[in-house]
Amino acid sequence: MGSVLDFLAAVVAASPPIVFAVLGETITERAGVINLSLNGTLMLSAMAGFAVALSTGSLLAGFAAAMGVGALVALVIAFGSLTLRLPQVAVGFVLTLLCRDLAYVLGQPYTGRPGPQVPHRPIPVLEGIPVLGQVLFGHNVVVYLSLLAIVLTWLYFFRTRPGLNLLGLGEGPVAAFVRGIDVVRARYLYTLLGGALVGFGGASFSLLVDPGWSRPKGIDGTGWIALAIVIFGNWQPLRGALGAYFFVVLQQLAIKLQSALPNVPTQIFSTLPFPLMILTLLLVTIGNAEWVQRAIGALPEGTRRLVLRLLRGLQTTPPAGLGTTLEQE
């Protein structure tokens, strides 16, 4: 039992980067914008966070710089797609490559240098709680912030007025406009906010989970997975967070299995989580395909009902207004 708890604790400890990335992108996509540059942004903000923290000696400055970088990249996306009406995928794709390369180029002087790390700060009383305490409260500020972020995002979406407006904005920009929501302004704001959260996630990688900067850096590829997890999470904070933890579990399992099976090469395990996530994605989106609908229609009644129920549970449908522009006279 102890090792299971240790395992879970390790999962939570390694989770902040991807949790923040998923939450940030969920917010952005709920507003109707796809930030495809996630992978590049994570890397660039990770590098920037570490570089600034190292130069200034202040962790706070590092995290702030990373958030700034994340927001800046998001600004480019927002400007390109909302004001210039360029296809979001195009701008995002170029930026993801650009930011990754930029991270490596500008990060050269910081490669391999030891730098500040987020200190270990277990919460005194809460740590003592039997199961949860060890898993959740024996970590550091950033981990606690990640947990808080999940809760706050959920609260915002489902308990506040502006949060409801955000949901509406994503579902129906025209209807939102009719209700008095300034669609373009809101999209800009939420894209920037999402970008800042992603930036924070990037810094939490280079200043906590895998301290320092190197080349290549392990965070490469996480951004793509985060995009997939947002879909898997049906654009909801809780389910998205679940997906994020699931992915980290896969990664940690890979590490465990590696020590258990020393003959099998490491890279297999490190690459395995990625295709698994994509396969899960296929599973949740395939229900929408027309031929599947027809095939289901041909099934006998009982089986059909079961399959439909399964699909509906897994089903993800994007916010109806995702990726669209609001055309107005």
């Binding site: 007025r161 939102a176 009719v178 008095g180 929501i181 449908t317």
Partner: protein, 487 residues
């Protein structure tokens, strides 16, 4: 609240949707705004509610001029509009839809909102389930939700844009009762419609719009003939079509039922012979499109059979219909019919559906030039189709059709075209009928329907009635379109 619109002008490109309209609506009345498609009713109301900005003109509420720059400002002034297509959030719950956009503190008090929702619903005898997703609601229920929401936000003026297009008789009765109750409370109701029977039943003052202008103001009761004449104008005598002796049956529909998420055309049986022209009349969204798409093989019928020249093609893919000699020309000329970014010559090459590998561009250019000549298209083979005018785009679409066709299906072939283009298009179509092509076309132009068709099918809410084009008058057709005689 008294509403006055003074000299409202609104144009979209070259089209003048509202050409100097002045209107006055008194509180406590249900004021009808009547007119056929394209008369400018929706535009005018969108201006009033703040969805659109007029080019010129003033809005006065209770005698005071106001500027309404957005729908939010509209509702702040007490003007709320129920749009024809529900503008709500299908994925969210009824309660969330009700609350979204309303002013208030940061944290939502869903319990209080729920009480308000239930109170307002009870007052109007609506029954809405707060937790249900709006996507599960019928159109009528979505309307009820929107009405209740607007009232909650303090609407004193309620505009309903074609509210009864797709709701059941029961819901209509409830809606009308609610509207009467609200009018009784002193609210101002504007009822935009084209359905004479309902206007007769519900409304007091009526303003008729035609072609962007006020055609007349009457007070109910009023004879439907007068209303129709105001709506559709005098019938201009144009040359009637020389009838072509009908040939073999080309299209046979046997108890056909087609539907989409809104509407169902049920149990339609029809035989069309070579050389016949059938006009499909009715207001937008009454089922004409469904029929055309079913005959083209683009929509699978729920039941019934579609036979082309004796062959049963029900449920076969579109390609089989094309090979059987059917052609479908959609209403959206650019984007559905023609491909923006491609030239006329490229379209010609595409439509020839050649089996060869390489394109002989010179032959394609020659063929394109030939068709340009024959169809008198104002353009060159190398002209991109988006640079053509509407009339020339339509001619191009016709020019792309294969030389011999069994069945031609057209959605609004002459919409937005001037008289000369319309005449030219029809002479080309007549030529085809003389060669044995049968034509089904949907149109909103009554004169066109009466002059060019042999028979007319009138659609109303999915139901179909057949009329003989030669013996029907404009007034009779207009009334049928408005719904008379369908119950």
């Amino acid at each position: 609240m008294r509403v006055e619109l003074r000299d409202i002008h609104k144009h979209f490109g070259p089209v003048k949707a509202n050409d100097g309209i002045s209107l006055r609506v008194e509180p406590g009345t249900i004021h009808a705004l009547l007119g056929e498609n394209g008369a400018g009713k929706s535009t005018l109301m969108k201006v009033l509610s703040g969805y659109l900005q007029p080019d010129r003109g003033t809005i006065l509420l209770d005698g005071k001029p106001v500027a309404i720059r957005s729908p939010a400002e509209g509702i702040a002034h007490g003007v709320g509009m129920l749009h024809q297509d529900p503008l709500d959030f299908p994925a969210l719950s009824v309660l969330d839809n009700f609350v979204l956009g309303s002013p208030g503190p940061l944290f939502l008090d869903r319990r209080r909102a729920r009480r308000e929702l239930e109170r307002l619903c009870a007052a109007l005898d609506f029954r809405l389930e707060p937790e249900a997703p709006v996507s599960s609601l019928s159109i009528g229920e979505r309307q009820q939700l929107e009405i209740v929401r607007l009232l909650w936000l303090g609407a004193q003026v309620l505009i309903l844009d074609e509210p009864t297009t797709a709701i059941s008789a029961q819901q209509k009765a409830k809606l009308f009762a609610a509207l009467r109750a609200l009018a009784g409370q002193g609210k101002t109701i504007v009822f935009v419609s084209h359905k004479l029977q309902e206007v007769e039943e519900l409304c007091g003052p009526v303003t008729v719009l035609a072609r962007g202008r006020v055609a007349g103001e009457v007070e109910m009761p009023c004879s439907p003939e007068r209303l129709v004449r105001l709506m559709f104008g005098q019938a201009i005598a144009t040359g009637k079509r020389a009838p072509v002796p009908p040939g073999e049956p080309v299209l046979e529909l046997e108890r056909l039922t087609v539907s989409d998420w809104r509407l169902e055309v049920r149990d339609l049986s029809l035989t069309v012979r070579a050389g016949e022209v059938i006009g499909l009349a009715g207001l937008e969204g009454s089922g004409q499109r469904l029929l055309l798409q079913a005959c083209a093989g683009l929509l699978r019928p729920t039941s019934g059979r579609v036979r082309l020249a004796g062959r049963d093609l029900t449920g076969r893919p579109y390609r089989h219909f094309l090979e059987a000699g059917v052609a479908y020309m959609p209403g959206g000329r650019l984007g559905e019919g023609l491909i923006p970014g491609l030239t006329i010559a490229e379209h010609v090459a595409l439509s020839e559906r050649s089996r060869s590998f390489l394109v002989d561009w010179r032959a394609a250019a020659r063929s394109a030039a030939e068709r340009i000549r024959h169809y008198q298209i104002r353009g060159e083979p190398a002209t991109p189709v988006e640079a053509l005018s509407g009339g020339n785009q339509q001619r191009t679409l016709l020019g792309l059709l294969p030389p011999s066709l069994r069945l031609l299906l057209l959605e609004h072939p002459t919409r937005g075209l001037d008289l000369e283009s319309t005449e030219a298009i029809w002479s080309l179509l007549d030529e085809r009928t003389r060669r044995g092509t049968a034509i089904l076309f949907a149109s909103a132009d009554l004169d066109e329907l009466l002059d060019r068709s042999d028979r007319i099918l009138v659609f109303f809410g999915g139901r179909v009635v057949e009329m003989d084009a030669r013996t029907t008058t404009v007034e009779q057709l207009g009334e049928r379109i408005g719904g008379r005689g369908f119950d």
